[in-house]
Subunit: 471 residues, 2 copies
């Protein structure tokens, strides 16, 4: 595309309340989605000149477009437009005259999720799923379920499960909540979609950690929100420079994917931010259950129950395919969220809910957590130690979770990722988690990290790195 | 509100492509959602005069607002504004300074769904749920599930279930599909939300049967679409006067709630409409399994697989709380829908999917359907016969389904409904299903219609009707 033709697509204006980069990003995204922009975008230098903007502004907009999967970038080349991504790209050749996805539908699918593979980030070890305990709990649930619960009445969750969860979250996570604040959902992704579709509107900014969780960014992009980065360092997310937003997404207990914990000072800062901007903090407590180094700090929710929507899941503790999660919502928002949940159809299976309630009540759930936390802790430390022995890899012992992020020398990320994928591993490039400046590294799960797999992973990675660093 | 102040909110313009009524409706809805319109709207006569429109146009817009729950109407009074409906109305008094639902979030919850009650429309009889068969199938599914299926990989459905469903839908419903076209979801409501969010954009019209299914209208309203009525008579939906739309929602096998079947002539008409407007037909096949009068006609999907998204569910055949449904999507749309499904988090529990596949494969599902269809058929005919014996009630024998619509004398609907609700019945006023001219009547389920309940229902209804028709 010629730089001058940008002027037909966008005219960022300082008088408007949004940052220039967001205006540019949004206009370009709309043009790309509508098919009005094709081929490649001008280089950031040429675009900045044509539009009278700084190059930083253009780069920020391009980064957002890349994060949404609307353009692909490679060093030294202008960003190549790859959207409208999902619907059209895969269409059969003879699809003319047939109905197509709406651009909004393409936005819901625009962020592609990681494919399968061994030790993929966020995956528990299926071999540790407590199959017999679960089968027994599920069977009893099926036999005992009441006529009431079989219908449509308890759409936001079985009362028994909501009570059990509220007690457990208060005791273990220091949360402050009534069972009516809990909405049981078919998993974290649907919790995120529900919050994104109800708490903000198209074009609204949402703060996300940078680097941060792709699933959250996918839900926000689908709902038409504009993800804005908050930088993450060793103390977690730093919101001091953050622009105003009504929605903030955070992983305080164990930052995804870096693995740090939100410091007390930063907690205060983010709570002050929420009060100042009347923002809702979405606290993703996805794997606080696996913190084995030191004591887990309490959930943010307990400090500001009226401003925090805390989401949880059994995906890591039991299995993703159970499709069971929850939102602990601010009390005054819960009725509205429940009404929306019903019309979005985000309900979880009744028997699965009853079985989880029983497992928690009878102590089987806690026993299972203890068991797998020990195993995952050992595997994580062994994996990190083996990685540290490789030239140029920087990684600390994971403090919890089921994945870790390793830093790699600049320029090696792509080759290392390709080699490991080819060897069957499901790791992901760290730069793919970044909205701002990309960091070179890999994110890998370790729940399935047996000694044999660790050895194979390190052999493949070591080979790439020695070839790169050889004189 | 003064009629003249309408001019600050809306200026419908014949030059724009949309009908004037839709422009008026949309502008008023936006004003109401944003809190810019409060109290009551002007009467349709005063509004028509102030805006220079016909009274029919204003009435059509008001009907749409009523259908969305944005205004309440009562005879002789101007429409009273009741939105922003869900979030704000139920807020605690001390909620100032706290984050609120976005208007979009309120739209998702704006259509309130029917409460609990005996013989509610669309409800199967929980006592007929095949508890033991299901418990056994579920147990085997838990023990047999593979490591692959436990993770995130098969998000759009277990391959085994998609194959079994594709075979069954081809054999029983004359459908033309490959297992890859099937997306397994947590039920029909989530299927509708997925289609609404991906196939059309905010403000786009969607044709719905009038009277028609509230759940579909709730999903469409949440997604910001504008439901436009297609009238229904004894031959089903008549799209001859329908305005252009990219999305059409239909219940061809057994119209909800009137119970008629789409005639062959009307099928041809709607297929021609879809070809002309490149529209997607959403065929809700929700209870085609219970057609016991004559032979079931094949699904529309089989006649135009590239333009029909057919949705199904086990909610009636087994139980709503299993949260299991599916979409048989046009092949060229399936990949895009799957990507959006993943980011919306609309996945069903793995073991439930495996258990259903087993029940179908082993013939238990078909045997169960035969059994309950006979029972429901008997109950439906007995209920209809008892109702016909009451003065002023018009109702035919149901041809299928688990609910029927009875017509009542004008002016009796409200009293009859209130009396039956007070007696514990979950029936709904027929006028609540109407977007256009309201029809007086009631919609009631009959799956739970035991002789004792039929007698009680008819006693309550009979008393209201005799009091009304007494000289």
């Amino acid at each position: 595309m010629e730089p001058a033709s940008l002027l037909h697509l966008t005219r960022p204006d300082r008088a408007r309340p949004e940052p220039l980069s967001v205006q540019l990003y949004r206009d370009l995204l709309a043009a790309i989605a509508a098919g009005r922009a094709q081929g490649s975008l001008p280089s950031s230098r040429a675009a900045a000149e044509a539009l009278g903007l700084s190059r930083n502004t253009v780069n920020a907009a391009y980064d957002l477009l890349r994060a949404e999967g609307a353009v692909a970038t490679s060093p030294g080349a202008p960003p190549r437009i790859i959207a409208p991504p999902v619907g059209d790209r895969r269409l059969a050749p003879n699809s003319r005259g047939l109905p197509q996805l709406h651009p909004r539908g393409r936005a819901w699918g625009a962020v592609e999720r990681s494919g399968p593979g061994l030790m993929a980030p966020g995956h528990p070890d299926p071999a540790l799923f407590p199959r017999d305990t679960w089968a027994m709990a599920l069977r009893r649930a099926t036999r005992q379920s009441s006529a009431d619960s079989l219908g449509y009445a308890e759409y936001s969750g079985l009362p028994r499960l909501r009570e059990v969860l509220a007690r457990r979250l208060a005791a273990d996570r220091g949360m402050d909540l009534h069972p009516d604040q809990i909405l049981v959902t078919p998993g974290s992704q649907s919790s995120l979609a529900l919050l994104a579709l109800t708490l903000a509107g198209p074009g609204d900014p949402v703060l996300v950690e940078d680097p941060g969780y792709g699933g959250a960014k996918a839900a926000f992009a689908g709902a038409g929100l504009v993800p804005m980065p908050i930088p993450v360092d060793d103390e977690g997310a730093d919101c001091r420079q953050a622009p105003p937003a009504r929605l903030v997404y955070l992983t305080p207990a164990n930052q995804y994917p870096l693995g740090c914990r939100l410091s007390l000072g930063r907690r205060e800062m983010i709570l002050a931010y929420a009060r100042q901007h009347e923002a809702v903090l979405i606290e993703d407590d996805y794997d606080s259950e696996f913190l084995w180094q030191g004591r887990a700090i309490a959930a943010l929710q307990g400090a500001a129950p009226e401003r925090v929507a805390c989401i949880g899941t059994v995906a890591k503790a039991l299995m993703p395919a159970l499709r069971l999660g929850w939102i602990a919502a601010p009390a005054h928002l819960a009725p509205g969220l429940r009404a929306a949940q019903r019309n979005l159809g985000l309900a979880a299976n009744l028997h699965v809910q009853a079985a989880l309630a029983e497992m928690i009540e009878q102590g089987h759930y806690r026993a299972h957590l203890h068991r797998i936390a020990r195993i995952y802790g050992d595997r994580g430390r062994a994996f990190a130690a083996a990685l540290r022995a490789l030239p140029g890899v920087r990684v600390g012992d994971p403090a919890g979770g089921v994945q870790l992020a390793m830093r790699l020398p600049e320029g090696t990320e792509g080759l290392a990722h390709a080699a490991l994928r080819a060897a069957g591993f499901g790791c992901a490039p760290l730069s793919g988690f970044c909205l701002g400046a990309p960091r070179s590294g890999l994110v890998s799960g370790f729940a399935e990290a047996t000694p044999e797999r660790i050895a194979r992973f390190c052999a493949v990675l070591g080979q790439v790195l020695s070839a790169q660093t050889a004189p």
